[in-house]
Amino acid sequence: MDIPVDDALVERIASLAGIEVSSAEKDRLLEDIRTILAYFDRLRRLEVDGEEPPALEEVPGDGLREDDIRPSLPAADLASQAPDASGGFFRVPDILEGG
C-alpha cells in the first residue's frame, strides 16, 4: 500500500493516539514510522482470502463470572494515586472550552 508518510500523517495519528509530539521528535518518528511500515509491507505478499481471525471460542478461559456484588477497592485508596484529587474527586483543568 503506498501511504504518504509525512508530517500530516504523523500529526493525524498523534492526535488519534492523544500524544503530544515535539517537533524534534516528529522528524525521528516520521523516519521510524516509514521504516516500520515498509517492513509491514510483507503482509501484502500473503493471500488470506477466506481466512477468518481466531475465534473467541478458542480462548481457554471460563469466560464470564456470576454477576454478584463484591466489594470494590476503597475510593480513597484509588484517589491517593491521583496527581490531583480532592474530596474523593479527581481534579482536572476546565473540560469545556472557555469554561
Binding site: 500500500m1 501511504i3 500523517l9 504523523v10 495519528i13 498523534a14 488519534l16 493516539a17 492523544g18 500524544i19 503530544e20 509530539v21 515535539s22 521528535e25 525521528r28 518518528l29 521510524d32 514510522i33 521504516t35 516500520i36 511500515l37 517492513y39 509491514f40 510483507r42 503482509l43 501484502r44 500473503l46 488470506v48 481466512e51 477468518e52 481471525p53 481466531p54 478458542e58 480462548v59 481457554p60 478461559g61 471460563d62 469466560g63 464470564l64 463470572r65 477497592l73 476503597p74 485508596d77 484509588l78 491517593s80 494515586q81 491521583a82 496527581p83 490531583d84 479527581f90 482536572v92 483543568p93 476546565d94 473540560i95 472550552e97
Partner: protein, 487 residues
C-alpha cells in the same frame, strides 16, 4: 552457609525441616543485591524491610507446622509490571514513576501464599515493549557476564537477577518472547505458559491477547516448582483456565524415550548465528541419544509471524495504553485544558519506543487501513495457529528450535534501528500468536562464554511435556546452571 546459588528446591526443603533459616537466606540475598545491582541495574526497587518481615513470617509458619508451600523461604524477584500492593510498580515507565498500586497481582499473592519471599522489583523495557532492556526509563540492564552487553528483554532485569544470584527465582511476562529471550541470552530457563494458564490480574497490560506471566529459574526443576505456585484459575482474569494444575515436577525425570520431536526447519536457516545453530543441533542430538525421535518439521507461515505479531501487538497496545491520561494515577504534565493535559502527559510520560508502538497501533486500526493491516494480521494469526495444529496432528509431542537468532548483543547495537530490534523476536512470537507454551533452556556456550538457548514448544497445556524435554537437555549438559565460580 551461603545460599546464593542454591536451588529453590533445596531452600524449600531445608526451610521446611528447619535446617535452613529463611531470615539468613534473605539477608544474604539482599547483601548480594547491594553489592551486584549497582553494576547490573536489574532491580528498580528492593524491599529490604518487607522481605525480612516475610522471612520472619515463614519462620513462624514453620514453627507452627503450617503447610510447606511451593516456594517456602525462596527469594523471588518480581518483574516491575506486576503490581505489588503499596510498593512501587513502574513498568519501566516515567508514566508510572512513583505509582504505588492499592492491590497486588494474582501472581504476587500466589508467591506470598506459597511462602515465597519477594525481595524486589526488576527492570524491564518500558511496558514490556522491547527485546534488550534498553527501553527502560530507569536506565538499561547490563548482562551479568559482560556489562557492555544487554541481557535481552523485556524481562531482562528478572533474567539478570536470577543468572547473577540476586534472586533464586523471578517472574517475567512474555507477549512476544520477553521471558524466553532474556533466559536464552543469560543462560537460564524461562517458560511462557499456555495462554490462560496463569492469571494476568495485576499485570500492566501490553497486548492482552498474548500477554502471559511465567517463571525464570537457573534450572528446569525450579521453573517447574514455580509454575506449581503461579498456575491456576483466577476469576479476576476471564481468560484464566480452570483446568486442574498438575505437579509440574512429576514427570521431569521420565526421560524422552519414545517422544517424537519436530525440528522447526524454517527457524534453522538464514540469519541464525552459527554458535546458536550448533547449540540447537547439539540439543537435538542429545535428545536423540536419549531415545527421542527427532524429525524435520515445517511451519510454512513462520516468515509472516513476526509482522503479524507486531501489527497485532501495537494495535492492542494503543488501546490498552489509552488508560494513561494523567488524571487517575501516574504522571501529569501541567496544562491549562483537559485535552492538553492528556496529550501533554502522554507526550512526556511515554518513551520513544512506546510512542512508536502506540502511534502505529492507532494507525493500523484507523479507518481506511484496518483491513490492510490489523485484520490481515489477525487472519495470518489463524494460519500460524493452523501450522501448529497440523504439526501436532502428525503425532509430534513437541517442537524444537532456537530461542534467539544470536547470543547477547552489545548495548546500543540495535537500539536506534527498530525493525532490527523487532527481529530479535522472530523465533518466539509464534508461540504467543498461537497461545502455546514454550520454554527456553540453556543449550550451549561459545568460546567467549556467552550462552545460547534452545526453545521447546508444546501443545496447549503441555507445560509438563516441554519441561520434561528441557530437563533432558539440561541433564545432557551436566544439570542445572551453577553460578560462575561454583562447582
Amino acid at each position: 552457609m551461603d545460599p546464593i546459588g542454591w536451588t529453590a528446591e533445596r531452600i524449600r526443603e531445608g526451610t521446611a525441616t528447619g535446617d535452613i533459616d529463611p531470615v539468613e537466606v534473605v539477608e544474604r540475598t539482599l547483601e548480594r543485591i547491594r553489592s551486584r545491582n549497582p553494576r547490573i541495574n536489574a532491580f528498580l526497587y528492593t524491599d529490604e524491610a518487607g522481605a525480612l518481615r516475610a522471612a520472619e513470617r515463614v519462620q513462624e509458619r514453620v514453627r507452627r507446622g503450617g503447610p510447606p508451600g511451593w516456594l517456602l523461604g525462596v527469594p523471588v524477584a518480581v518483574k516491575d509490571n506486576q503490581c505489588t500492593a503499596g510498593t512501587p510498580t513502574t513498568a519501566g515507565s516515567a508514566m508510572l514513576d512513583g505509582y504505588r498500586p492499592p492491590y497486588a497481582a494474582h501472581v504476587v499473592e500466589r508467591i506470598q501464599e506459597e511462602g515465597g519471599i519477594i525481595v524486589g522489583k526488576t527492570n524491564l523495557d518500558e511496558f514490556g515493549m522491547g527485546s534488550s532492556c534498553e527501553h527502560s526509563a530507569f536506565g538499561p540492564v547490563r548482562h551479568p557476564q559482560d556489562p557492555e552487553r544487554t541481557p535481552g528483554g523485556s524481562s531482562g532485569g528478572s533474567a539478570a537477577a536470577v543468572a547473577d544470584g540476586m534472586a533464586c527465582l523471578a517472574t517475567g511476562s512474555d507477549t512476544g518472547g520477553s521471558i524466553r529471550l532474556p533466559a536464552s541470552l543469560c543462560g537460564i530457563v524461562g517458560l511462557k505458559p499456555t495462554y490462560g494458564r496463569v492469571s494476568r490480574h495485576g499485570l500492566v497490560a501490553y497486548a492482552s491477547s498474548m500477554d502471559q506471566i511465567g517463571p525464570l529459574a537457573r534450572g528446569v526443576r525450579d521453573a517447574a516448582l514455580m509454575m506449581n505456585a503461579l498456575a491456576g484459575r483466577d476469576p479476576r482474569d476471564a481468560t484464566s483456565s480452570s483446568r486442574p494444575v498438575p505437579d509440574y515436577r512429576a514427570d521431569l525425570e521420565r526421560g524422552v524415550r519414545g517422544l517424537r520431536l519436530g525440528l522447526m526447519e524454517e527457524s534453522m536457516g538464514e540469519g541464525l548465528d552459527a554458535e546458536v545453530e550448533r547449540a540447537v543441533r547439539g540439543a537435538a542430538e542429545a535428545l536423540r541419544d536419549q531415545g527421542a525421535e527427532v524429525v524435520p518439521c515445517s511451519l510454512p507461515h513462520t516468515a509472516y509471524a513476526a509482522t503479524a505479531y507486531y501489527v497485532t501487538a501495537m494495535a492492542e497496545a494503543s488501546s490498552n495504553l489509552a488508560r494513561y491520561d494523567g488524571v487517575r494515577y501516574g504522571f501529569r504534565a501541567p496544562a491549562s485544558s483537559a485535552a492538553a493535559l492528556v496529550a501533554g502527559s502522554r507526550g512526556r510520560g511515554f518513551g520513544l519506543e512506546v510512542k512508536r508502538r502506540v502511534l502505529l497501533g492507532a494507525f493500523v486500526l484507523s479507518a481506511g487501513y484496518a483491513d490492510a493491516y490489523y485484520r490481515k494480521a489477525a487472519r495470518i494469526r489463524t494460519l500460524v495457529r493452523r501450522d501448529f495444529e497440523r504439526a501436532f496432528a502428525t503425532g509430534l509431542d513437541a517442537l524444537i528450535g532456537p530461542t534467539c537468532p544470536h547470543r547477547a548483543i552489545r548495548l546500543g547495537e540495535r537500539v536506534d534501528d527498530p525493525v532490527r530490534m523487532y527481529l530479535e523476536d522472530v523465533h518466539t512470537v509464534s508461540a504467543n500468536l498461537a497461545g502455546l507454551p514454550a520454554v527456553s533452556v540453556p543449550a550451549g556456550k561459545a568460546g567467549d562464554g556467552l550462552p545460547a538457548g534452545v526453545q521447546i514448544l508444546g501443545g496447549p497445556f503441555e507445560e509438563g511435556t516441554i519441561l520434561r524435554i528441557g530437563r533432558a537437555v539440561e541433564k545432557a549438559r551436566g544439570g542445572a546452571r551453577l553460578l560462575d565460580g561454583e562447582t
